[in-house]
Amino acid sequence: MSERATGPAIETSGLIKIFGKNRALDGLDLTVPAGTVYGVLGPNGAGKTTAVRILATLLRPDGGEARVFGHDVLRDPDAVRGRVSLTGQFASVDEDMTGMENLILIARLLGYRKPAARDRTGQLLEAFGLTDAADRQVKNYSGGMRRRLDIAASILSTPELLFLDEPTTGLDPRSRNQVWDIIRIVVAQGTTVLLTTQYLDEADRLAGRIAVIDHGKVIAEGTPGQLKASVGAGSVHVRLRDASQRPGAERVLSKALDAPVQLEADPVALTARVAGEGIEHAAAERAARALSELAAAGITVDDFSLGQPSLDEVFLALTGAPTRNDGLAPIDNPATSEETAA
């Protein structure tokens, strides 16, 4: 492990992958520094999983280059395989086998001899809180337990680079927090983590840098702070005491924030995007002003919050188009339309 931390963990240039008529990757350029959590953010079908599969040597690219710790994924796949571990979108464990059997299997395949494989498996089951479930078939595990076993299998032999492909999709909040804690501990041990996610919030909490990808290309890259600044501060969410005051509140908010206001399904709720000038506290100030203007207009506010921009808002700001997820209808915002050309 002495050669670690020299040069980037991942470098791709012009990576292309075509499935039929679909260009899943259309010239992807990524540089992931070693020893960090790097977030790859994008909607379904953006190319996140395709990129991970190419980097883990599971898929051959149709063009471009990809290197992991300097080793080309096509020319030297075995050197790459020896350094990476993969936790895919679908749990990479055998449902019919028990938790312990799964770990022993992977330990043996990594080259541990039988007694060492057993020891290692015992330690990991303990560390991941799965000792009680060790002898149960994985198909009887909860989603969170399955995910933990999956990550345990990935760090059986401490990898230099760990791919986590949407590790929290489908998990309940508590299990998601556990996974986040685990990721933080893993990266603190020096492992580089490539995390793909659909949630800006998740990338923001864990990643040192984030690449936003869409249609197989990187459309923005930077620290979470830079990314959010380029997007705006997010949305103001307001809940009124009295539904009859909503038309008045809508007028006050849209004037104070100079932005269209969306009426939520809940008759007392309103949402407005704060078109920040790129500087966060300016947006916060405007939100605060809006709050005092609501009070001045005699409107009773039960709850007021300034939320982070959602992935939809990030995409709206970066591409002028909403994500292709069938999520929220985009809020029509003329301020960002000039960026459409990008």
Partner: protein, 281 residues
Amino acid sequence: MSATTTETSTTYVPAAETLSAVMAPGTRPRRPSALSASITFGWRAMLKIKHVPEQLFDVTAFPIIMTLMFTYLFGGALAGSTTEYLQYLLPGIMVTSIVMITMYTGVAVNTDIEKGVFDRFRSLSIWRPAPMVGYILGDMFRYTVASLVILVVGLVLGFRPDGGAAGVLAGVGLLIVFSFAFSWVWTMFGLLLRSEKSVMGVSMLVLFPLTFLSNVFVDPETMPGWLQVFVEVNPITHLVSAVRSLMGGATDTGEVTLVLISSAVLVVVFGTLTMRLYNRK
């Protein structure tokens, strides 16, 4: 079948000390040998049989039914008596049953691909064919079970081979060697086809003509000339002749050699195709 436990996941809090301790970079073990990796995958196949014992149904009930059905269906008509016919039929029905259950190798490969665990295997630094060899090693156990089941049924019904225990053992051994080789056809289809159903469909399409258009049930001399040509080149015919000769105590070295050669060819051709697909998947 216990209920999913949620209490374990709700009480679990990842502890930095314990997790860091298990991640402490020890020396990475050396990559396992080709043999060790293959045997590990074979062990997995055995565990799966242990956890899902229903899958042994195919290798027990199916051969029993085949043996009973054909013995009593054709015995009287073809050989005058069922016991008489059994001496001719049993080696053939054993070959047919075992060759037919080789297709489950393809089904197992195909169902695994659908699951994430296959990706993990492919991303490990191990001898590339090891997962495939592992499937087949596990299946060889199934072939052995099926052979024994048929043998026992045969003995009960009156099968008395002249080759004795040694001859029968050699016959079963040769059959398993051939089945190991033939399974590579199914690993290829398992990787090639999109669904379990299509794997089954193609398997049937290949297996029915291959096993029935042979010398398993009747002497080829009664068949029309064009069919005899096919029967003569069909590797199953040679396998049946070889197994019959071994069990009958009059070893036909030529046929046995032919079977061993065709096994080697099957492994080289379909093993290569399988690995090409596996690497490009």
